[in-house]
């Protein structure tokens, strides 16, 4: 069997480069899968379909990190409407104003240089 030509993470990143938040869907388990991988953790199936999220979600849990140096910042877990959860942060508001249950929308953050793009969120209402 020849080696796989690409990795789950590389596929995920190529979507982010295009401004898309990609996730996987398992037909065998009939549910979303995240983080991207080669085997569905709910069914063991290796048939995972790539889908692009509509980019809407709800804050599931949130914390404000107070680093020894620098400003406090947000880290949150976001439940996307398609049924998967990921770690991210909510931008454009004060970290202390990020609340559980808040509706948020995705945007891509490109740090530039060697760093890979990452999915971040902003309040949906804004």
């Amino acid at each position: 069997m020849p080696n796989d030509a690409t990795s789950p993470y590389a596929t995920y990143l190529s979507h982010l480069e295009k401004g898309e938040l990609a996730y996987q869907f398992s037909p065998a388990a009939n549910c979303a899968v995240f983080f991207p991988r080669l085997l569905c953790p709910y069914s063991g199936s290796d048939r995972l379909e790539w889908r692009v999220s509509k980019g809407r979600g709800t804050v599931y849990a949130t914390t404000v990190v107070h680093p020894a140096e620098g400003q406090p910042y947000n880290v949150a877990l976001i439940d996307c409407d398609e049924g998967f959860r990921l770690m991210s942060r909510v931008e454009d508001i004060a970290p202390t104003d990020v609340k559980i249950g808040m509706r948020v929308k995705f945007r891509v953050h490109k740090p530039g240089g060697e760093e890979a793009p990452i999915p971040v969120f902003t309040p949906e209402a804004a």
Binding site: Y60, A61, V64, V65, V75, R85, R89, P111
Partner: protein, 384 residues
């Protein structure tokens, strides 16, 4: 645990190594050796009797191999499951299985850490996860903070209730001669201490100390002939729900539910039968989650349960009687030290902090970020 026999083996020797801040140049394996020598002396056995070895640590990649080299023995059976702080609760179940199967007869489980001396970063290298690391969670604290945020949201748990856990731990620590932090601590002190990852302040977080220890396990038959009263292993169970916090199915429910269920079933006991409770309190939210998940109170009622000194000395339930990871000692992976305290409580060796009733102990280990949960139920001869 399915397939293990209740009371087939016992913990017969326990000992801490040096704790807190150890002498300059002391290695993690020096601490394992100290613990091993002291634990063997505790039960009257020698290294020549040992034919099973278990070890896990963050500072030695091949810790069991290092332990064999250091001790100069050739064990018939070894184990080195690495589930973070709960590794040793897993090792207990594995040692029982190995002894029952005749693979070894006297097993030593060891641990050592010099994380305070060498620095946390050097002691425990963080892994890069492309789905979490870019957001700079301050791990492990931020993962526990996320769980706390969810518990507060769903059940109205307050920072004051989290602080009660730290205050109770400190009061127990004040009764433990070898505890690291003994200064008086109030709920107000916890609330105004430096914020690390909201809602957890520095006083909601475990200590960063050196330390370690060892314990000796053998068959129930052999245990009877040794120096001290055996702590029989009545029940073992585990539950692993995830590795990274973003993959934890429900941040308010841990694998302790499954771990406890399996351990109680094997022990033929329930939460109400437990005289002493030793929970892995890496953060104040842990104690609340584990009291709920192990059946000491209903889900969501952990906050009220720990309030008013209910888990402090003289309270309704003796929880974390050594002062916990919060105030006694937390050398990176703390799960071995709670087993040691459980055994000492059963023996009645705990002086001022001794629980009046001490025939049974629930010892519950936690590893990773609420990831790998494992329970061990210990009992005196009266419980067999």
């Amino acid at each position: 645990m399915e397939g293990l026999k209740r009371g087939a083996a016992a913990i017969v020797g326990v000992a801490e190594s040096d704790l807190g801040q150890v002498a300059e140049g002391m290695s993690p394996m020096d601490l394992v050796a100290q613990g091993t020598q002291r634990a063997l002396a505790d039960c009257g056995l020698t290294l020549k009797d040992v034919d099973g070895l278990f070890c896990a640590m963050t500072q030695q990649r091949m810790s069991i191999t290092s332990m064999i080299e250091y001790l100069g023995i050739a064990p018939k059976f070894i184990g080195s499951s690495m589930t973070g702080g709960s590794s040793f609760e897993f090792h207990v179940a594995q040692a029982v299985a190995a002894i029952e199967a005749g693979l070894c007869s006297v097993a030593v489980i060891g641990y050592g850490s010099t994380q305070r001396s060498v620095g946390r970063r050097a002691a425990s290298q963080r892994e890069v996860n492309p789905y979490e690391t870019p957001f700079n969670p301050f791990l492990p604290t931020s993962a526990y903070a996320l769980a706390a945020s969810r518990h507060m949201h769903q059940y109205g748990t307050t920072r004051e209730q989290l602080a009660e856990v730290a205050v109770a731990a400190r009061k127990w620590a004040q009764l433990n001669p070898v505890a690291w932090e003994k200064k008086d601590l109030t709920v107000a002190d916890v609330l105004k201490s430096r914020m690390i990852s909201h809602p957890l302040s520095v006083r909601d977080c475990c200590l960063v100390t050196d330390g370690g220890g060892a314990m000796v396990i053998t068959s129930a038959a052999r245990a009877k002939s040794l120096k001290k009263a055996p702590a029989y292993i009545l029940g073992c169970g585990h539950g692993i729900t995830h590795m990274n916090i973003s993959s934890m199915p429900d941040l308010t429910v841990t694998g302790a539910v499954e771990a406890g269920r399996a351990a109680y079933k094997m022990a033929k006991l329930s939460a109400k039968d437990m005289d002493v409770v030793e929970l892995y309190d890496a953060f104040t939210i842990n104690t609340i989650l584990f009291l709920e998940d192990l059946g000491f109170c209903q889900k969501g009622e952990g906050g009220p349960f720990v309030s008013g000194g209910n888990i402090a000395p003289g309270g309704g339930l003796a929880v974390n009687t050594n002062g916990g990871g919060l105030s006694y000692c937390h050398p990176g992976m703390y799960g071995l030290l709670i087993l040691i305290e459980g055994v000492r409580q059963l023996r009645g060796e705990c002086g001022e902090r001794q629980s009046k009733k001490h025939d049974t102990a629930m010892v519950h280990g936690n590893g990773g970020v609420l990831s790998a949960q494992a329970s061990v139920i210990l009992g005196t001869g009266a419980t067999l």
